[in-house]
């Protein structure tokens, strides 16, 4: 198998920026992405959205257009509609497009697999009618599809606020925004505000959204302390309590959109066996990386949200840095070259400025323990229908980690491979056993990371591209 110089997984801002940068230095990167069109999630459908009024989705969304245009300018080998089911530490990649499996070998890999929603397990969250705020944004951006009945939004975080404002601008009625950010968090986040002011643009945008929301008169319930989704075969009601009150309030609705932040998608880095640190500010796992964004594994780097949540603009900057790093490692450019060093300095400076707002946002919107450690009756593993109580029961019998929990309860054994339950199960065990998250660990992952049939796998050794 002739190796490709550089293979990039993911065509979101980080992946696109990495490819564009590497291409500048004479590399023909391969960009593999499972969506049919580029943009990742944040710029999803930017080439084809039916929402043409630019005000609805907001100006940040349209930033994605220039990246997408550069991706398609012919210097990059862009492979959409292709999933990656395997990546080995030796940088052998198993991909699947349609029914056809290909194996590739790369000298350098940049993972840019982005973020996914933090699990938000509440009683009833598996009912039809309960979805994530991110999913609602995808429906809006990609298809112009909106909720029918007045919708309830619940949780916390910038994405939730953005969605609320996008809905308002599109004329979608919102029954209520139930915010779980607690009073104390404003105070805790305050010390980080001076640093955040370096990224005034982002703060200003955020304040603008909050203001727009306030002026719209949408019912905004604060300090929500408990939340239930109710219904028989589908959602018909949402109930909640607020801090300091035992009264349950209710709203009838068939659409509930949940969101409590996003977390790095670490499936690939976990399957590689990379070391991950538990970041206690973001309450998420971050693959350990050096200052060129390379993981513990030689010539495999991670750029963007999949290394730690930094947002779209910063993800593009990390993409540039990773692309630069790849070009240096591959020998296309020299780090002692003055123009390269100045490029590197510039990107690092911009990245530093862009991410200065993160600590403030992370602390402000960090979900409280009760939202990450659900009550016993709540389903934690959606695929195998394992409840929080079962995990706690086996913890009491001496189960210390998620791999034992998996073998005893089947949690994490379903098709989603722990994407929806991994964080929650580790947190429940960590809490029950009074051990740190690092001591507790995470599911051991192995290929295939995306669905592949036996027939397709059986042909894997035949097609080497």
């Amino acid at each position: 198998m002739t190796p490709h110089d550089l293979v990039i997984l993911g065509a979101g801002p980080a992946g696109m920026a990495a490819a564009i940068t590497a291409a500048k230095y004479g590399i023909r990167p391969v960009v593999i992405d499972e969506q049919p069109t580029p943009g990742g999630q944040i710029y999803r459908s930017v080439e084809s959205t039916p929402i043409l009024d630019p005000k609805v989705l907001g100006e940040d969304y349209w930033d994605g257009k220039s990246l997408v245009e550069a991706l398609r300018d012919g210097t990059i080998d862009y492979r959409p509609g292709t999933s990656v089911w395997q990546l080995t530490p030796q940088r052998k990649i198993g991909s699947l497009q349609g029914d056809s499996v290909s194996m590739l070998h790369a000298r350098y890999v940049i993972l840019a697999t982005g973020a996914m929603e933090r699990p938000f397990p509440i009683p009833g969250w598996t009912l039809p009618g309960v979805m994530t705020a991110g999913s609602a944004q995808i429906l809006l951006k990609s298809s112009g599809v909106i909720p029918e009945s007045p919708v309830v939004l619940a949780g916390s975080g910038p994405l939730l606020l953005l969605l609320a404002v996008q809905y308002l601008r599109a004329g979608v009625p919102i029954a209520a925004l139930l915010e779980t950010t607690s009073r104390g968090q404003y105070r805790q986040a305050l010390p980080w505000l001076p640093k955040a002011l370096r990224n005034l643009a982002t703060l200003t945008k955020g304040l603008g959204l909050i203001n727009e929301l306030r002026q719209s008169g949408v019912r905004h319930v604060r300090n929500v302390s408990a939340l239930h989704a109710e219904g028989d075969s589908s959602l018909n009601r949402v109930s909640w309590q607020c801090e300091g009150s035992r009264e349950w309030q209710q709203l009838e609705t068939s659409n509930l959109l949940l969101h409590q932040g996003v977390v790095p998608n670490t499936q690939m880095t976990r399957a590689l066996g990379c070391h991950h640190n538990w970041d206690s500010r973001q309450l998420a796992w971050h693959p350990r990386r050096d200052d060129w964004l390379v993981t513990d594994i030689e010539n495999i780097a991670v750029a963007g949200d999949s290394g730690g949540i930094i947002g779209a603009a910063a993800s593009a900057l990390e993409g540039r840095l990773a692309g630069l790093g790849a070009a240096i490692a591959l020998g296309n450019i020299n780090n002692s070259d003055a123009s390269i060093r100045s490029e590197e300095k510039k990107v690092r400076r911009q990245l530093d400025k862009e991410t200065s707002v993160r600590p403030f946002l992370d602390i402000l919107y960090r979900p409280a323990a009760k939202w990450r450690l659900p009550i016993n009756d709540t389903i934690v593993c959606r695929c195998e229908e394992v409840r929080a109580g079962e995990i706690r029961e086996i913890a009491a019998m001496g189960c210390q980690g998620p791999n034992q929990a998996k073998s005893f309860t089947r949690c994490g054994m379903g098709p989603c491979q722990g994407r929806m339950c991994g964080l929650t199960v580790s947190e429940i065990l960590s809490d029950a056993n009074q051990q740190s998250m690092e001591e507790t660990g995470y599911y051991r992952l192995r290929p295939p990371l995306k669905p592949i049939t036996l027939g397709q796998l059986a042909k894997a050794s035949e097609n080497k591209k």
């Binding site: 039916p50 598996t126 994530t132 995808i138 429906l139 298809s143 909106i146 075969s233 695929c383 229908e385």
Partner: protein
């Protein structure tokens, strides 16, 4: 539960027909199957193999594996990862799949 925004016709916007359990439904070319079905009022797309509980699309980005449906006779296909095409035959996934010889 979901519906479409009334948007001005743009050139190139094509309608396609889906066949959902024998019924003809309209969809927009470029939609994912999940989006198209939600827009047509679909509530549940499957029942779980473990308990037979109804489930529906949850994340729309290929992470949750809730939107599994029978597409053109192939079971357990993630509907949010499949773009619609004209004449696509779709059924709800009832529990575990069977294996046809």
């Amino acid at each position: 539960m979901f519906t479409r925004l009334l948007l001005p016709e743009t050139s190139g916007e094509k309608q396609v027909t889906l066949i959902f359990e024998g019924r003809k439904l309209s969809a927009r070319e470029g939609d994912s199957l999940a989006a198209a079905l939600l827009a047509n009022g679909l509530t549940a797309c499957r029942t779980t193999p473990v308990s037979g509980s109804p489930r529906a699309p949850y994340c729309m980005m290929g992470v949750c594996f809730e939107c599994l449906m029978d597409v053109e006779g192939i079971p357990n296909v993630q509907a949010c990862q499949v773009p619609v095409h004209d004449g696509m035959k779709v059924r709800r996934q009832q529990g575990a799949r069977s294996l046809d010889s």
